[in-house]
């Protein structure tokens, strides 16, 4: 069993680590307060989006509740020129990349397949095919290597994704070419209804060694530890020492998506246990211990969260439906006479209704 790296225990007590402390030594009270605010805000975005789904404004939403530290700790460790290849649940990471809150929701409103410009924020369109993005990250990292850049690609994958061939092939390619890529696995204990024990009988962090990739297991609800191990992996990649793997132990507190009913497959006791490991509470305790948590911070965080929530609600309902003929748009980058013909025929068909 690999050791689980922790810098902030579930009671909010800062535990010392000779190896990892230097990696987060720069995080003063302000910086910690910033991380706290981030977590408050994305939790609020998540809650709002869930509510918007219930109100019929979104078709679906995959909540990240409980995974805030894993996403903020890693997302805030990245540089602007790094590149994220994520799955659908990494809205906290996207927030760190600078994706506008409303853009996080567009896809789930069903108006577009991509909420933002990947090149503007350094984050690819979230991937729905489980595991596929791990190869994209690896390939992108090869590109960075070819360019002579020290930018890094990071793939976010789930515990379930570890069973897909693509993720394992990605580890093969990353190791062979020593690609500057990080596989960041949020082990939130479930793939929809399937507990991680169905995917593996040993810790997921044991997997990469057999591919020649160094791995760590980290308390994914500890934002400090997550940031420390992510920074360490980034450094490794930047100095040309190849890929890394991080298993962040966390828990999906909500349903898989708003369409899911988790009471069918897990019990309340388990949920309670994890409620005690809340990532926000423990950082708040630390800040309190440091004397850095006062009404000012609380209010600022709340105000930011309120503002984002308001922006979200106003923004999303104002998003226009796509134009009918946009169904034919961007299928190809270059002219395509046959598709044009289909589009024109459909346009004429639609005009028939107008007249």
């Amino acid at each position: 069993m690999p050791k689980t790296i922790q810098l902030l225990d579930e009671h909010g007590v800062r535990t010392a680590s000779k190896h990892y402390d230097p990696l987060v030594a720069d995080l003063d009270a302000d910086a910690l307060a910033g991380l706290y605010e981030d977590m408050v805000v994305i939790r609020r975005i998540d809650t709002e989006a869930t509510a918007l789904q219930r109100q019929g404004e979104l078709a679906l939403w995959p909540p990240l509740l409980g995974q805030e530290a894993a996403q903020i700790g890693s997302g805030r460790a990245l540089r602007a020129d790094d590149f994220v290849f994520s799955s659908y649940r990494e809205n906290g990471v996207a927030y760190c990349r600078g994706v506008a809150p409303v853009d996080l929701l567009r896809v789930w409103r069903g108006v577009t397949a991509s909420g933002w410009d990947p090149y503007e924020v350094g984050m690819a369109t979230p991937q729905v095919i489980i595991g596929a993005q791990s190869l994209h990250a690896t390939g992108y990292a090869l590109g960075m290597q070819n360019d002579g850049s020290d930018a890094v690609a990071i793939a976010y994958i789930g515990d379930g994704a570890m069973s897909e061939g693509d993720v394992n092939e990605a580890m093969v390619f990353a190791a062979t070419f020593q690609a500057p890529v990080i596989f960041f696995c949020q082990n939130n204990q479930y793939a929809i209804s399937e507990p991680v024990s169905l995917q593996t009988r040993v810790p997921l962090a044991d997997r990469p060694a057999g591919f020649g990739i160094p791995a760590v297991r980290v308390d994914g609800n500890d934002v400090l530890a997550v940031m420390a191990v992510t920074r360490e992996s980034l450094q490794r990649a930047r100095r040309g020492d190849g890929p890394s793997f991080i298993e962040a132990i966390t828990y999906r507190m909500g349903p898989h998506t708003t369409a899911d009913d988790p009471t069918r497959y897990r019990d309340a006791a388990e949920l309670d246990e994890w409620r005690g490991r809340d990532p926000l509470a423990r950082l708040r305790t630390l800040l309190e211990t440091m004397g850095a948590f006062g009404p000012e911070l609380e209010e600022r965080a709340a105000a930011r969260a309120d503002a984002v929530a308001a922006e979200l609600r106003a923004g999303i309902v104002a998003v226009p439906d796509p134009a009918p003929l946009s169904v034919f748009a961007n299928v190809y980058a270059e002219p395509h006479p046959e598709l044009d013909r289909q589009r024109d025929a459909y346009a004429r068909y639609l005009e028939g209704f107008a007249s």
Binding site: A59, A113, E194, R264, L325, V327, G352
Partner: protein
């Protein structure tokens, strides 16, 4: 006869298959404890145990590949692919193994595998959840491909597929999961319409309208609407997409001389293309008009708010009917 949704009818069919043949095993993601994201396998793990109703690791090639091995060992695996768009990681195992094993081994190894795939759109889903991949499988020799439109067929054809010694790709139109119908889940399989035969869902004599799966209901609605305008449409619910029951199809087209084929999936090299080609070959002298294909566009399945502009609906089918009837102004 009991009133059941299509999902319920599938569940009943699976229960019966599990009961009738102890070699039947169900495999898939979230099919056990959860009972499947559409609850098609609801209660079956509790009833038949974890060895017969297996939650598998999250890996589609792994699911199909182990199903091949189980079939090699004499089992009859019924595999669930959670959504249409997730069948592609298993494509190699399906095309290179499942489809070819019987021919490869000179008939010595049979792979009676049923691959259940919730299919198609019209449900406002996210990307990869509304695909219509039927043609990929119809183009693959060695597979049988079916798609059901009614609760009764869902139950019976699924049982026939499981009982078949050939591998069958079994499509379940998601938009029909919750639609109810009367079902006799104990229907004797040899009393039922055989696997591979089409059903004339509505008789008519001016136009033959061919549909399957999620389009069958739309086609029937269109026929009803056309009847109001005095046009008599024969609706064929294809049921089997590979092989197609061309006896039924050509008999109808020879009478009507006009055929419209409705298909959700993209047009190019689709099932509708094949049907148009074959109907033209076999009924050329009878055709008053070229077969008309009303299909999804040749685009990746669009976001939910655009799907109504992608999926053939009643109006588009009627437009196709107008085309095949040479009604002025509509020919493209």
């Amino acid at each position: 006869m009991t009133a059941m949704t299509m999902a319920g009818a599938l569940n009943a069919g699976l229960r019966r298959a599990l009961t009738d043949d102890e070699k039947v095993v169900l495999m898939g993601e979230d099919i056990g404890r959860l009972g499947g994201v559409y609850r098609v396998t609801d209660g079956l793990q509790a009833e038949f145990g974890e060895r017969r109703v297996m939650d598998t690791p999250l890996a589609e090639s792994g699911i199909l590949g182990t199903a091949v091995g189980l079939a090699y060992a004499g089992y009859r695996p019924v595999v669930e692919i959670q959504f249409d768009g997730f069948v592609y990681p298993a494509f190699d195992q399906i095309v290179s193994q499942v489809a070819k094993m019987h021919a490869r081994t000179g008939g010595r190894v049979r792979l009676p595998i049923t691959i259940r795939i919730p299919v198609g759109g019209g449900i406002g889903a996210a990307e990869h959840h509304s695909e219509s991949p039927e043609a990929y499988f119809a183009h693959t020799a060695g597979l049988r491909v079916v798609s059901v439109a009614t609760p009764q067929d869902a139950c019976t054809v699924l049982r026939q597929a499981i009982a078949s010694d050939d591998p069958v790709v079994f499509f379940e139109p998601k938009r029909r999961y919750h639609v109810k119908g009367e079902v006799d889940d104990a229907l004797a399989l040899d009393a039922a319409l055989p696997l591979g035969e089409a059903r004339v869902a509505r008789e008519g004599d001016q136009v033959t309208l061919i549909a399957w799966g999620g389009m069958t209901g739309v086609a029937l609605d269109a026929a009803e609407a056309a009847a109001d305008e005095g046009v008599s449409i024969e609706v064929i619910d294809l049921r089997s997409l590979s092989p197609v029951d061309y006896d039924t199809v050509t008999a109808s087209v020879r009478r009507t001389g006009r055929v419209v084929i409705a298909q959700e999936g993209p047009r190019e090299a689709g099932i509708a293309s094949e049907i148009a080609a074959v109907v033209t070959e076999r009924c050329f002298a009878f055709l008053e008009h070229a077969p008309v294909r009303v299909t999804g566009h040749d685009v990746p399945y669009p976001p939910a708010k655009l799907e109504k502009h992608h999926l053939p609906d009643l109006d588009r089918l009627l437009y196709g009917v107008d085309q095949v009837l040479d009604r002025a102004g509509v020919n493209a």
